[in-house]
Amino acid sequence: MSVSAAAPPASSLSAARAALPQLPRRLDPLALLALPALLFMAVVFLMPLLLLLWASVRAEGGFSLAGYVRVLGDSYYIGVIGNSLRLGLVTAFGALLLGYPAAFALARARGYAQAILFALVFLPLTVSIIVKSFGWGIVLRRDGILNWLLISLGLIERPLRMLFTEESLYAGMINVFLPFMVLPIYSVVRMLDPRLSEAAATLGASPLFRFLRITLPLSLPGVVAGLSIVFSLAVAAYVTPSLLMGDRYMTMSMVMAKAFLNLRDWQLGSAMAAVLLALAVAVVVGAGLLQRRLARHGQ
């Protein structure tokens, strides 16, 4: 077999390429590297998700939105959705308050100091949430470390009730999700060009002005990413609220667990899951749009 016989003439190749749809020509071959991950996600995420959405509208007589009516038309479940949203927002902004300066410290540190700071960020991720919750119990109970400290400092006379309060839940949630705020901000901050701030300083800009007009706007993509990640994780949290508050602070995930496991009410559980998904998708898409806008603004 001759080579020339196997290879089509150049003109026919051009014609064939022209006949192909535009998309494959635009597709970067490197994008194919995502194929295994896409297939994996299709099996373990997309298929169960479609089944879940189907279960949320399936009824004995066929199609029904009764599950959504029960979730969105019941003041108790609206309160539960409000609990989850409040938990997500307080956790996200609480983590931002603590994580933003920490990310800067991490980006500016060098050598051993940076290694230690990295360990402080990552090590809490290796501790089980169960262990953490028991630890919080020891810290917060009436004869716990925090009450002992406050009494020793003369700030209070008798122990305060700190366990199973909304404040202790927020503190626990921020503790669990703080690394997911620090890391995206750190990844943006470490790329900031220090010469921009230095140039502003030579022109007489105060530290506050430089932070507000240069550093903060440039770090906003990391902030938006951190907020969307922490909010998405916190709004769907199940274990931490269950352990730190129990049934007295019902979240959407706790209602889902109850519906699927205890009540065996698939319609209620699926409808609640779909509402939670819609909220999370709205946040992620909104964050993506905001990031693009910030990027355009930066250019």
Partner: protein, 345 residues
């Protein structure tokens, strides 16, 4: 003739080896005498009770400890090809398993000890058996609560403000605070209170200032109870409270004058499960007078075989045995009421 290795013979060897490595465990397993039992994750089951049965009968018990509803879900998912032989669950969950045809009746099977059980330990015409009756009332911290509570009504005393934990209605033991509230509200005996439980919700609501937490995580609640953060805990049963007491924890089970409640500890044969003969042997042994005495000592529970003498140190009164079918029928409604009226802040 010398055998010459070729790629083909090598591939044959690999194929044969793979086939053996895949088939061998199944062949070995088939030869082994073992059963898979699903049950509660109670201390003492595997290390004491099952070891005793394994030694006596020479088969292996593969055990998976989890809560009853998850256990039920596993049986339900494997309905077409059951892997579990025996399940140990709460009676309200066994009621559901029976309705779905997931368990086989014990009556008529080769389980001679079944005949010696007290009648209320053979629910639904021996659909399953109660292998012991743990008792539940009020668990109290012995360092903080002196003297011991003598009535359920004491839980409403304002001296216990923020000092009470109750178990979530999603867990069967939550029936005890509901019965206690119904009794305080109606004055009826505990056993009758189950059918009047809706009348108890208003009284249970009055307990809210005393409730520190409504728990779905009993080990965490037990830790707080033993540390003295919580004085009263409604209501882990004797398997937990008296077991922890025997290990030196400052907790004890109150003996209220209104009585104590028998918590359900059922055992059933999974329908069409493997090794049914071994399953029957397992259940028969669990109901044996000698094994029941061991179980009573290990789990601080009343034996259900009438030929078993109650251990001398188990000073329980007659326990109120509940209609768990009624409980199963109303549980979902009570879970909803409990969350909306008691748990809500």
């Amino acid at each position: 003739m010398m055998h010459r290795s070729t790629r083909r013979t090598l591939l044959k060897g690999i194929a044969a080896g793979s086939a053996w490595s895949l088939a061998a465990p199944a062949i070995v397993r088939a030869a082994e005498r073992e059963i898979f039992v699903g049950g509660p994750a109670s201390p003492g089951l595997e290390d004491i009770l099952f070891k005793h049965i394994e030694r006596k009968h020479g088969f292996k018990i593969l055990f998976e400890g989890t809560n009853s509803l998850i256990n039920l879900e596993k049986i339900r998912s494997n309905r077409a090809r059951p892997t579990m032989t025996v399940t140990m669950m709460d009676d309200p969950v066994l009621v559901l398993a029976e309705r779905e045809g997931l368990i086989a009746p014990l009556r008529g099977l080769n389980i001679p000890n079944l005949a010696d059980l007290r009648p209320d330990a053979r629910p639904h015409d021996s659909m399953w058996a109660n292998w012991c009756f743990p008792a539940a009332s009020i668990s109290y911290n012995t360092d903080n609560v002196k003297p011991a509570p003598t009535s359920y009504a004491e839980c409403w005393d304002r001296k216990y403000r923020d000092k009470v934990i109750i178990i979530s209605m999603r867990i069967t033991q939550a029936v005890v605070p509901l019965l206690a509230a119904t009794h305080v509200a109606t004055g009826k005996p505990l056993a009758e209170c189950l059918r009047l439980a809706d009348e108890g919700f208003a009284k249970l609501r009055e307990l809210r200032p005393n409730i520190l937490q409504i728990t779905t995580n009993p080990p965490q609640a037990q830790q707080l109870h033993e540390s003295g953060e919580v004085d009263l805990y409604l209501s882990p049963d004797s398997r937990t409270t008296l077991f922890r007491k025997s290990r030196g924890a400052p907790v004890d089970l109150a003996r209220p004058r209104e009585g104590m409640v028998a918590m359900p500890a059922g055992v059933a044969l999974v329908k069409d499960g493997p090794n049914q003969e071994l399953g029957m042997t397992f259940i028969n042994e669990l109901l044996d007078p000698e094994t029941q005495a061991l179980a009573a000592r290990t789990f601080f529970s009343l034996p259900t075989n009438t030929k078993t003498a109650k251990p001398a140190d188990l000073d329980f009164p007659d326990l109120a045995v509940l209609d768990w079918e009624y409980f199963a029928d109303n549980r979902n409604r009570w879970i909803e009421r409990f969350e909306r009226e008691i748990a809500v802040r």
